[in-house]
Subunit: 361 residues, 2 copies
């Protein structure tokens, strides 16, 4: 079977096998990875290796820190604003859909923080990334949702208007899947449960220079305090970091992020082509802004969509139901989804179309 | 070998085996527990079962909510104060050592929150639980660290002076190991990585009536919002909740918390007796306040302590080094530590004492 869920999502089968094999005794210690102390070298070594491998994969320069935190992107909505809206208090948001809006809502709840929407895809029902106008006001930073998991859009490149701005990016559903330049961003955050590892881990990559001038905050919410303690000011999520580390090693073996991007482009193109060639399926998303990792499509009939999802599931193609906010279908094609899975999906789509009287274009 | 770490700590071997066995296909779904959606019934069923089992184990009444969160006890230091210091803003702390003090420090960082220490064990170097005087001021709540992981003290019963107070308790290192009455508390929190499951999960049990009058807070920091969404307002730590659920089932099979307490008393007594009968080892802790789960002891010589820890490790008795703040040794005897492990430790202690010229009392 193939799991097209948007997250938690499919992981490399090799990684799951390795976790299974060494679960009762990590590194011949006689202890499970679930039992080892976060102060032991067993853990600090694996955390350092995970960080180093992530740095290699994303070419993260030494003037950026890497954090392994908890709380998901939703806690980052709060942490980014608490830590970084430190001068004017004004944050510029590009509203590209549900997760941008959640980030805006959370920023609004903080005193002295003023979120402003500088561009929105609302008029187009978020089927395209909006144009970003020249920025004139004095924002502490600009917030982007780089890939929109629900709407199926992504930035293929950053808007020119954002040159010289401090950019904070939610990269949850595309991190390690598309070869963005870390140096184009000042802070990147991502929930692990899509392209990194199991749920319960959040990766934050931030420019060291950002840390100056941040007010004193509760320890768990403070980037400077978390950086100072290398993400271990209390017990970190050991197992999730360990599994993410195995995924990083798997990615290096596959050739790294540029190789994954190439694979992801092939997989996505296969599905987008099938949609284009079909008289039954339609992608609501503007061609130029289509996501590589989250691909929504519809038949135009809610009833037929539901039938598609149920029949697909019966055929071993799992979790193809679109998010309740947009309906239809969604196939999430993260790094760990093999090409064979997409081929199987395309075959199923063709069969389903034939069974429902569709004629190929 | 036996793992005496204070946390992350030993888990039941049966639980680890079950995790291993079903890691590649959870409930014959063809998907790993690491890959299943938190919106699928596979997950919501297991979360509901985990909650029900915890309710049975701790006899949690229906007017209490149960949350499965992230961020550890340290984030609870902040969340409890943010949510519950809502009228006078004053919090009464009983200072019983390091983790009480961390809770106080975090509360101090919040605007409008005034932490006051109403009793402290500082004079006695935290080797005893201090007497709590009659409370006259108007506190929003009283905060207790029920078991002190580093200093090795615990409340065997709650101070009478706290009757009718709102009580918030950090139960991280004793939850499910001693049969406290949930109804004696208004909110209980515990990091999972000692007596519940793997690191990366925090259990919160709170009286539903506490939720009224809480200000609007960022979603991840708000008890009312977390309760409303059943701990799933974003992706919860699926694997940690799953493993905790298996530990709960294991505990029910062992006879529940009162059976575990009985076992823990036998294990602790074995070690305390050995210390009492020895001319080499000494417990710094007042007899009446000794912890069942974290047992520090010293030889009186730093060099001999270090030798003890190294020799013990060579003999397969792992992680007996005391916390750097107090030195010496510490044996953590959580629920998953078998009696055989404590017997082995006691034998080793006797041998070590003989080898170092000790004469039995």
């Amino acid at each position: 079977m193939y799991n097209f869920a948007a997250g938690p999502a499919v992981l490399p089968a090799e990684v799951i096998k390795q976790v299974q094999q060494e679960l009762t005794s990590y590194q011949k210690s006689g202890m499970s990875i679930l039992e080892i102390s976060h102060r032991s070298s067993l853990f600090t070594d694996l955390q350092a290796a995970a960080e180093n491998d992530l740095r290699r994969l994303m070419r993260i320069p030494t003037d950026y820190d890497v954090l392994f935190l908890q709380g998901g992107a939703t806690l980052q909505f709060t942490m980014t604003a608490l830590n970084l809206a430190k001068k004017s208090g004004k944050i510029a948001f590009v509203d590209t859909g549900h997760w941008s809006q959640r980030a805006i809502q959370e920023a609004k709840l903080l005193p002295k923080v003023v979120p402003e929407i500088i561009a929105s895809g609302k008029e187009n029902h978020f089927t395209a990334i909006p144009k970003v106008p020249k920025i004139t006001a004095d924002y502490d930073y600009v917030h982007l949702t780089v890939n929109n998991t629900i709407e199926g859009t992504m930035y293929h490149q950053l808007p020119a208007a954002l040159n010289n701005q401090t950019i904070v990016a939610d990269m949850s559903s595309i991190i390690l899947g598309y070869d963005y330049q870390v140096t184009d961003f000042d802070l990147i955050y991502a929930g692990a449960q899509k392209n990194i590892g199991p749920a319960g881990l959040t990766v934050v990559i931030l420019k060291h220079a950002l840390l100056s001038g941040i007010p004193t905050l509760p320890a768990m919410l403070s980037y400077p305090k978390q950086v100072k303690k290398h993400s271990a000011l209390n017990t970190p999520p050991v197992f999730a970091i360990y599994t993410a580390g195995l995924v990083f090693k798997w990615l290096l073996k596959q050739g790294g992020v540029s190789a994954m991007q190439q694979q992801n482009e092939i997989k996505a193109q296969l599905l987008y082509n099938e949609i284009a060639n079909s008289s039954l399926y339609r992608s609501p998303v503007a061609v130029a802004d289509r996501s590589l990792t989250n691909i929504p499509f519809v038949t135009g009939s809610d009833q037929l969509d539901a039938e598609f999802v149920a029949d697909a599931q019966a055929a071993g193609l799992m979790n193809l139901k679109g998010h309740r906010l947009v309906g239809g279908m969604r196939a999430s094609l993260y790094n760990a989804m093999p090409l064979a899975g997409v081929k199987r999906l395309v075959e199923f789509m063709q069969q389903f179309e034939m069974n429902h009287g569709g004629s190929r274009k």
